[in-house]
Amino acid sequence: MTHQMGVTGSYPLILAIWLLPLAGAVIAWAFGPQLKRQAGMVGSAAIGLAFLATLASWGAAMQNAGGHLGAQQPLGSWLPGFDFGLLLDPLSLIWALIITGVGFLIHVYSIGYMWTDKAIARFFAYLNFFVFAMLTLVLSDNFAGLLVGWGLVGLASYFLIGFWFFKPTAVAAARKAFVINVVGDVGIMFGIFLIFWKIGSLSFGDVFANVHALDPWLFWTCLFLFIGAAAKSAQLPLHTWLADAMEGPTPVSALIHAATMVTAGVYLVARCAPLWSASHDAQTLVGTVGCLTALAGAILGVAQWDIKRILAYSTMSQIGYMIMGVGVTAYSAGVAHFFTHAFFKACLFLGSGIIIHELHDEQDIRLMGGMQKRTPVAFYAMGASVLAISGFPFFSGFFSKDQVIYGALEHGYTWMWAVGLLTAGITAYYMFRLFFVTFFGTYRGELPPESVGVPRQLHDTQQEPHGSNEHAPSWLMAAPVAILGVFAVGAGWIMMGTGSPWARFFANSFPHETLPAPSVSELVTSIIAVAMFLIGALIAYTRYGSSTALANAPARLKSETEKLPAILVNLYYFNELIGLLFVKPAIAIGQFFSRTIDPHLIDGAVRELVIASRAVGTFGRSLQTGLLRGYALIVVFGAAAFAVYYALEGAAR
């Protein structure tokens, strides 16, 4: 019963989309020493071509024949029961467009960013490999292929976080990210097992046609799948790796840890919409986790000073919104937020990359200030993105975030609606805080770090290592940021109003979804959201942006650093908790096994056997006196015993 989701049996252009990045990776890897910087061109070209191929496939992805959406390309059977294939439908089209489109811009930017790095070819090999893996994830037409992609993006992320493998912090961050993601992989794996057990097939078509065969395991299936989604998308309580992942080069943070890979969880839930629509418990679970993550991430964003870490927690928070959206079955709203977020967050990361480059690898915003003049492109692009992420009316984030928050209300989760609105205010606060502290006032980098509250040893480990000060043509980095900035402003317009292009695009993808109808409450939601934005932005302005605040900025920042609550500085003690609950016990158990049980218990038992056989031997030895007459006596007694025995036996007869 192979039930396909796409209409056509074959659409080879998907193969081109899928394999071009792999080809780029192989070329960059195999000819890296010869290509050097040209590897960047090759890699960017591969992704650019894949983007064009994706655009060319638009029509095929949108075709609809009796509920069978999109184009399908079989890849052959991997194992009996595991048939692989590629599927391009509206959902995967959106992801593929972002992966290749934003990916292309980030590739171009990376040529400039990594210009002086000796391992630039290796960098592009990894980056192209990541795009290939991510496309595997979103283009697969079955759960097994999705899991393969899921694992491979984790690997690419591992390589890229640990790209500067001589930095111990980067190595540790890479390992942490990989292990936590394996927890997620295992969750998905188990979800897949449940599906395979109950349905006997892993293709999306078969599974979604037989959702009720999963009863009573439906909730458990969703739960296990969501463990994977939570690990990959940095949801509570598996979020701790994301901030550490900022050890990777900034373009990596933009592409993998903001725009694409971390949204894989959103993709998974949206893809499995038929499962979630059938299980109310799963909706509540995922909505709750997403909502709490949005809030928790935003609060942590308030207490960070490292520009990339602020953005990392912001990413965590925004993905929380997306997860909340798809969790409460407002699928197209969650996906919409993914779409706009990819632009403004990539823009923010790349803009901060420009600043980091300009300041020779300084990442602490307390040591920035006044960047408005030194990096104007970053100032304008990031300004637009800050407005977008904070929900300034008619910027892209405004539309998608409203959709998510209103979606929660519409599906009956009032408290999520309230928390979502509160989080929107906090978002505006911490984003404007970042903006004002970085761009306004005067440059503080020449001050001694202690005077703005930066501990010395922390400061030294946070820098990205670059080679010489030789710089690439500045447009290589400026142009992608500018383009992303434009999209950060305008990408939301396609979501405006009823019957918007966005709504029509997804009209057939999520048949279980009831689309929000315009009503007073939606208008009210928007008004409250804008009010929250204003409040947050105003607080940030008075604290960091106003002329009085800017006048004594260093002292202010120092005192504020000292006043931050310990629970926020220590990230709610999550790392310590995980260490206490999992890492330390595992190591203790391992040491107990190899130092106590192996040598003492098991080998001890074996040794008892040895001792016992030795005792028997010692007893036997003691009989061997070597005295001839003693032996003779024993022989005589033995013979006598025989004689007596037979004599008695004869007498008894």
């Binding site: 030895r621 061997q624 006196t625 001839l628």
Partner: protein, 107 residues
């Protein structure tokens, strides 16, 4: 049935004599410490057995006893030869033929 009339002396006497010789042999092996004497005592035991073989062979009119007696004589000769060789070697090495002093096989 034993052919009692073929034996000029009653069979019980042969058994008694054999028993006496055998016990003398045992006593010799157990009590004496000179290996030559012990070998001779073993010869006594062999011959006690031979005596019985022949007596019963005669009584049952069965030649198997004779054959066994020959076998025993042959084996006894071989055993004496080996035994004497061992005694000679031990004597050469230890300058002493007291069996209680020689305990090379002590475990």
């Amino acid at each position: 049935m034993p052919h009692a009339d073929l034996l000029p002396v009653a069979i019980g006497n042969y058994i008694g004599l054999s028993l006496v010789i055998f016990c003398i042999g045992i006593a010799g092996v157990l009590l004496r410490r000179n290996p030559l004497i012990m070998l001779m005592s073993i010869e006594l035991m062999w011959n006690a057995a031979n005596l019985l073989f022949l007596a019963f062979s005669r009584a049952w009119l069965n030649n198997a006893g004779h054959i066994f007696a020959f076998l025993v004589i042959t084996v006894a000769a071989a055993e004496a030869a080996i035994g004497l060789a061992i005694v000679v070697i031990v004597f050469r090495n230890a300058q002493n033929v007291d069996v209680d002093e020689v305990a090379l096989l002590k475990g």
